[in-house]
């Protein structure tokens, strides 16, 4: 079978602008953030709020953690933000999320093509690996790539309105997330999240 022609990936958008646009009204979601850039993206958007649990280790855990939360709270939209490096470390988690397919789980992969925390070494996505294609292969029905400004509105709509687990790949410039000093204590932020759940229920 002939392969469809694909244009080269574009790593041009600014994550500090586009991630907030994709999320929209943050109060509508429970958030799980991976480590490094995506943790800062979400901490900045939520002002390190009680609807957000972000990591600074356990690389590869974000999607699975979001899946557990989505299964436990089917009444709430759960948005996981993960980076390309983090997702590559546990790519099988897409297969697991896909077969469960909770309608309230949204996965946003902020792909800057690099391991930013460790000195901006190229990740596999700079070298030809396409994470949306992997998500499709894992069986996730709603997927899209956002790499130009005119795709942002559709990406935001998918994250907000999808009726099954969805996957949005956001390609961005190889730059850090927003500067934000967040609480990095895994225990106090756990308690903060639980208190937030209690207050909202």
């Amino acid at each position: 079978m002939a392969k469809a022609e694909k244009s080269a990936p574009r790593f041009e958008l600014d994550r500090t602008v586009v991630v907030p646009q994709l999320v929209g009204k943050q109060e509508d979601f429970l958030f799980i953030g991976g480590l490094a850039g995506t943790a800062k993206d979400l901490a900045s958007i939520t002002n390190d709020g009680s609807n957000y649990y972000g990591m600074a280790g356990a690389m590869g855990a974000a999607v699975s953690m979001g899946l557990g939360l989505a299964l436990a709270r089917p009444d709430r939209k759960v948005l996981v933000a993960t980076g390309d490096g983090e997702l590559l470390m546990n790519i099988g988690s897409l297969a697991t999320a896909s077969i469960l397919n909770p309608p309230n789980l949204r996965i946003l992969c902020v792909d800057n093509g690099h391991y930013g925390e460790t000195g901006y070494q190229k990740s596999h996505t700079s070298l030809g690996v396409d994470l949306e294609q992997i998500a499709i292969g894992a069986g996730i029905k709603s997927t899209m790539t956002v790499e130009t400004k005119d795709q942002i509105a559709a990406g935001a709509r998918m994250l907000r309105e999808s009726n099954g687990t969805c996957f949005v790949l956001l390609r961005v410039k190889p730059e850090d997330g927003p500067k934000f000093k967040r609480d990095m204590d895994p225990s106090s932020t756990r308690v903060r999240f639980l208190q937030g759940m209690k207050a909202r229920s």
Partner: protein
């Protein structure tokens, strides 16, 4: 689901976890958990989550806790090695956590490939700060799982239940 006399204790594992409020069962398949996996798949009141690697189940349990649900990770002891880095989130974050391990590389093992991880299970659990509960007799199963659930979900500990090969029997080669 019909349990034979041989694997009735496996049904007790499932029933006792469920009695203790576990609603999310995650697993990488193993013969020692065959009955519990089948029961979770057939049970409309629980989520039965097949994993690609055991570490997913560790993060899944943490997420379930954030949403107020109780989860149990069922795995063969060889899968413990795949989980170690994620355990740092469990103990560092003081997440309640329960895993039930069917042992290989243990009493009477005949496959030399299993011995390395089998011998490392207890030191790993100690190093990662777990409470370990070992089961060697069929009539201990219910009490031991009850005790493990209490330590995990009431005291907030990371708890591993070992279904030892004295209980399961060693696979013949």
């Amino acid at each position: 689901m019909e349990a034979t006399t041989e694997d009735r204790w496996q049904k007790v594992v499932y029933d006792t976890l469920k009695k203790n409020g576990v609603t999310i069962f995650s697993y990488v398949p193993d013969a020692g958990h065959r009955m519990a996996i089948d029961l979770s798949l057939a049970d409309p009141d629980v989520h039965s989550v097949a994993l690609t690697t055991e570490e997913e189940g560790v993060a899944l349990a943490a997420g379930a806790h954030l949403g107020g649900a109780r989860s149990a990770l069922l795995m063969q002891s060889s899968g413990l090695g795949n989980c170690i880095n994620f355990f740092s989130m469990i103990t560092g974050g003081k997440f309640p956590f329960l895993t039930v391990l069917s042992m290989r590389g243990d009493y009477g093992e005949g496959n030399p490939w299993q011995m390395g991880m089998g011998k490392a299970v207890r030191p790993i659990l100690d190093a990662m700060g777990f409470v370990t509960v070992e089961i060697t007799q069929k009539d201990e199963v219910e009490r031991a799982i009850d005790a493990a659930c209490t330590m995990a979900f009431q005291s907030g500990e990371a708890v591993a239940v070992l279904l030892t090969q004295k209980l399961i029997g060693a696979k013949k080669f």
